[in-house]
């Protein structure tokens, strides 16, 4: 198991307040879900899951066809579709649109996809102000943290943490009443909504036969993001497609109930283009950015591609005994819990965090609650086999395996990694290039062997971490 993973786990386990917060929050979400899917109130629950699984399977297995159909329908209603291979491509599209429209202020509604590609940091690096507007996301943006949970991003924070960050960043009194804190955020963000040039949302679903984006939320910030500014840009992974608007009758019944136990979230928006003739309000432009960023790679394995059915309800996190102990920040990527454990190695390679598929007791609770019936334990087992196979390939003997672990040790420690890559940046080629030579202490058998298979991206002039810190000043 990798060491970052270990250290965060230790810190989480030895913090009684945090333990209690995770337990209470996930426990509440579990019991709300249980009531909402009970056979007394929803006798068709199992049938809906089976239908959702079949529809997702069909869509993913014919994804190119539905992507093209989606694109045709967006264009037919006067919208625009952009295709992005990487997070950089997404940022480039948005920067281009912002520049030509002279935009400087962006409001954002919650989106795991934009978290995944660090969109805010990329935009702010280019001088744009990009503000998260979901209350939890806003708080963690002010604290420069990543979401703790797919549906409850600030689950780990207390009202006192919020009071402190509001005082520091917004210059308000140290306010510890949650209701008042919420109203402070409302006031600050309302002003942003009314001044923003661009609104960026994610997408819970992309609907092929309609060229539409569906968004679910409780606060109304996604409605404001997509209604108030002149330009609406939706950023979505290509796996978000479903064939027909009528499929929402299945998926909407599952999503809210599985996530928070709500039969429907407060707001569901079905958006299919810019405002039409004679409408008094609404965006004048509608853009959808379709993101690959590793998703096409996941399609290659006929079994593991079901990981792409996920509708990000968060139920598997709430029901996972491991997540409930170690929390969201113990996971190496923005996606935590069981879904994070199966998609992180598939996006980043099993070598990147070889301990991850083993961080599960395979109790099967996740698969039992997953509304689209992803067989998470089975995929975990397959990934474990992949880890073993990759270890065999890369570590020639026990001595070298040990050195490789040292490399992993360094790589997984932010401070040490920073120092090591700075050293490498001084010794090796800069900028766009790839490292063929590594500093002496890292230039050992397995790393060399590893580099002969693939190039290690050269450290940028400034690391992301450094840019982040500078921005914070």
């Amino acid at each position: 198991m990798s060491t970052t993973f270990d250290r965060k786990i230790d810190a989480t386990l030895s913090d009684p307040r945090l333990q209690n917060a995770i337990y209470k929050a996930t426990g509440r979400l579990m019991s709300h879900r249980k009531i909402a899917v009970d056979s007394d109130v929803l006798p068709e629950f199992e049938e809906l899951r089976t239908q959702a699984n079949a529809v997702k399977r069909h869509t993913i297995e014919n994804l190119d066809w539905y992507l093209e159909q989606f694109e045709r329908n967006v264009l037919a209603h006067g919208g625009h579709v952009h295709w992005a291979r990487t997070g950089t491509d997404v940022a480039d599209v948005i920067l281009g649109l912002a520049k030509s429209r002279n935009a400087s202020l962006i409001v954002k509604s919650k989106s795991m996809t934009t978290e995944e590609i660090d969109l805010n940091e990329r935009l702010e690096h280019h001088g744009l102000e990009s503000v998260e507007t979901d209350l939890g996301e806003y708080i963690i943006q002010l604290k420069h943290e990543r979401p703790y949970h797919i549906v409850a991003p600030a689950l780990h924070l207390t009202r006192y943490d919020v009071a402190n960050v509001f005082e520091k960043k917004l210059g308000v009194e140290n306010e510890t009443e949650i209701e008042n804190q919420t109203m402070i955020a409302r006031r600050v963000l309302r002003d942003k909504f009314l001044r923003a040039d661009i609104g960026i949302s994610g997408a819970n679903f992309l609907i092929a036969d309609s060229g539409a984006v569906a968004l679910v939320e409780n606060e109304g910030n996604a409605r404001l993001t997509t209604s108030a500014p002149k330009v609406h840009i939706a950023v979505a992974g290509i796996e978000k497609l479903i064939p027909r608007a009528q499929d929402l009758a299945t998926f909407l019944k599952l999503l809210g109930r599985s996530g928070t136990g709500q039969p429907l979230t407060v707001y569901t928006s079905f958006l299919s283009g810019p405002r039409r003739e004679d409408e008094v309000d609404g965006p004048e432009e509608f853009h959808v950015i379709l993101l690959d960023s590793g998703r096409t790679k996941l399609l290659a394995d006929p079994d593991k591609r079901q990981s792409l059915y996920c509708i990000r309800c968060g139920a598997c996190l709430n029901h996972c005994p491991v997540y409930r102990k170690i929390g969201g920040h113990s996971f190496p990527w923005v996606y935590s819990g069981p879904i994070g454990a199966i998609i992180t190695p598939q996006f980043h390679g099993v070598e990147s965090e070889p301990g991850l598929p083993f961080a599960s007791s395979l109790c099967g609770a996740c698969a039992e609650v997953c509304p689209v019936k992803i067989d998470i334990p089975k995929i975990l087992l397959e990934l474990r086999a992949d880890v073993k196979a990759s270890e065999k390939r890369h570590a020639v003997n026990e001595a070298e395996r040990a050195v490789f672990r040292t490399f992993a040790y360094v790589a997984s420690r932010p401070k040490l990694w920073q120092r090591a890559t700075k050293l490498a940046a001084r010794l090796g080629p800069r900028g766009q290039g790839y490292l063929k030579k590594v500093p002496g202490f890292m230039n050992v058998g397995p790393v060399r062997a590893w580099l002969s298979q693939r190039d290690l991206p050269a450290p940028a002039e400034k690391s992301f971490r450094e840019m982040w810190k500078e921005r914070g000043r």
Partner: protein
């Protein structure tokens, strides 16, 4: 090669699909519409809205509905949408109620400062206590969104059983509107310590008036 071509190429290669190959038919959409009487639909709608902390009225006449709205808007500023139904029953004539906006800037300013937004709704969904708002020149988006209070006045015959009936009546909402929004209760958050707070961004107070 463009990003579009590269993505579609990789998708096809990894799925083993030929370009343009028609997929097998997708599973039939699952649409089930229960038989529910008009009375039961009204009752269920009002019960669900109340359960979500919304306020409700079952108005026996248009006059009753207008009276209810008048009581809440007394001494306050309100914006009413351009829905013909609101004009017909006289809501737009109430003191303090502004309506008839055709200019975006004026609408925005009015909604941003008004205490109450008054709309009709294209449908209501009894099952979940939901209002269905299709954006149009008659129903602007901001009226049900910017003011802290939202009052919706809905003729009883527009109450459907639920999502299935809605999507069976409108299999392609995009051919009719650029935006269909379902509203189920007041705006809420529980992002700080799981404590429920209403009205974080949208209206924290919602009234559903069903007119028989």
């Amino acid at each position: 090669m463009t990003a579009r071509e590269a993505i579609l190429r990789d998708v096809r290669r990894n799925l083993g699909r030929a370009e343009g190959a028609t997929p097998p038919p997708p599973p039939e959409p699952r649409i089930r519409i229960p038989e529910v009487s008009r009375e039961d639909r009204i009752a269920r709608m009002l019960e669900r809205v109340s359960a979500l902390a919304g306020k409700t009225l079952h108005a026996r006449s248009a006059g009753d509905a207008v009276e209810y709205v008048a009581a809440r808007t007394a001494g306050q500023t309100a914006v009413a949408s351009n829905a013909p139904f609101l004009r017909q029953i006289g809501v737009t004539e109430l003191p303090g109620v502004q309506s008839g906006f055709t200019d975006e800037r004026n609408l925005r300013e009015a909604c941003a400062s008004a205490e109450i937004g008054i709309t009709s709704a294209d449908y209501a969904l009894a099952d979940t206590g939901t209002l269905v708002m299709m954006a149009s020149p008659a129903e602007a988006r901001l009226v049900s969104l910017l003011p802290p209070v939202h009052m919706a006045i809905v003729p009883a015959e527009r109450i459907l059983t639920g999502l299935d009936e809605l999507f069976s009546l409108h299999p392609l909402p995009a051919s009719e509107t650029s935006s269909m929004v379902l509203i189920t209760g007041p705006s809420r958050t529980a992002d700080i310590e799981q404590i429920l707070v209403r009205g974080v961004h949208g209206p924290g107070e919602i009234h559903v008036v069903v007119v028989d």
